[in-house]
Assembly symmetry: C2
């Protein structure tokens, strides 16, 4: 509040003439940021790529707005630009042949996953530079590799694979898994 007011060349109290409080302001910013995501024309052939692109775009935008990413959690889409984006998401899902139940429940999980990933990654970005992050992951790798094999056999055996992928690859993995799960659940009813 204070920071935003300062950027506007005024005091924090002045904001309350336009906005009920911090929560409403975050919702407005969230709406604005979601509005920047390009919405595709649903295509039954490339629907997977379309969802991936929307997810990646939103994640990239939220990455530099940690508080907004957090506000994206626990919010039912109701603001105008978020609604348009939500409609685009379920439209693409339907084009992909997903069931109505998966559309209805999957929409929320889709958004939850994007916002949570963005928040998580923004924490690392805030805490350290790219170089420090590389060092940190090297330490984590060493730590896992040296875990006592009698108590942590599985963790120790996958240490190599755990520390390899960067944040983008992790995100894409999670999103791929989620979408593959949606497909599987649509087929099984």
């Amino acid at each position: 509040m204070r920071g935003i007011a300062q950027q506007l060349g005024t005091g924090a109290a002045s904001l309350y003439a336009h906005v009920s409080g911090k929560e409403e302001l975050l919702e407005l910013v969230f709406d604005e940021l979601v509005g920047r995501v390009a919405l595709p024309e649903p295509d039954p052939l490339t629907w997977r790529e379309q969802l991936h692109r929307m997810a990646f775009d939103l994640r990239a935008i939220l990455l530099s707005h940690r508080d907004v990413a957090l506000a994206g959690l626990g919010r039912v889409p109701s603001s105008p630009k978020v609604l348009r984006a939500a409609e685009a998401v379920v439209a693409v899902m339907r084009a992909g042949g997903l069931s109505d139940r998966v559309l209805a429940l999957g929409l929320e999980q889709f958004l939850l996953f994007i916002a949570a990933s963005a928040f998580e990654d923004s924490l690392y970005d805030a805490r350290m530079t790219a170089d420090e992050l590389a060092v940190y992951f090297q330490e984590v790798h060493d730590f896992y590799e040296r875990l006592p094999a009698d108590r942590f056999p599985v963790l120790a055996s996958i240490a190599e694979t755990m520390s390899g992928p960067d944040d983008v690859e992790r995100f894409e993995f999670g999103m791929t898994a989620l979408l593959a799960g949606f497909e599987a659940m649509s087929r099984s009813g």
Copy 2:
């Protein structure tokens, strides 16, 4: 800090003799809470149920500890009880025949999803009672049902399905999707 110190019958400053700060304290509490989750003996037949149960248990515990749930995001498992739990999770995944790549990347997504869901649901719990929540979801349902069908045809058509399931069913849906995705990705390499 102040609240915890008060519960201990002392001042906030005294905590800094035992803990470096809020972050470390949250990590200790997170470790303690994760330690309460029952860890099963990996079973190739019921591995899905085993993962579901661990996930649900942890979610239930984190539900009443919002700040700790948030601290669970963006943290590489390294404290003792979290490590034991992580080993159990990947051991069950391996018993289920999931690939090493899915174990390594899936572990993080599994935890991310649980913590994010718990945080999200704890927001609703904090903001309103069960009765108010029912009213709120009824309003959301009405809102979606009345969306202009020309601009939001898909959202309007799934309004009924969107407002039905409660938070537990949503969580189970998301977890089922994630695990189904892990399976699909393990098969495809």
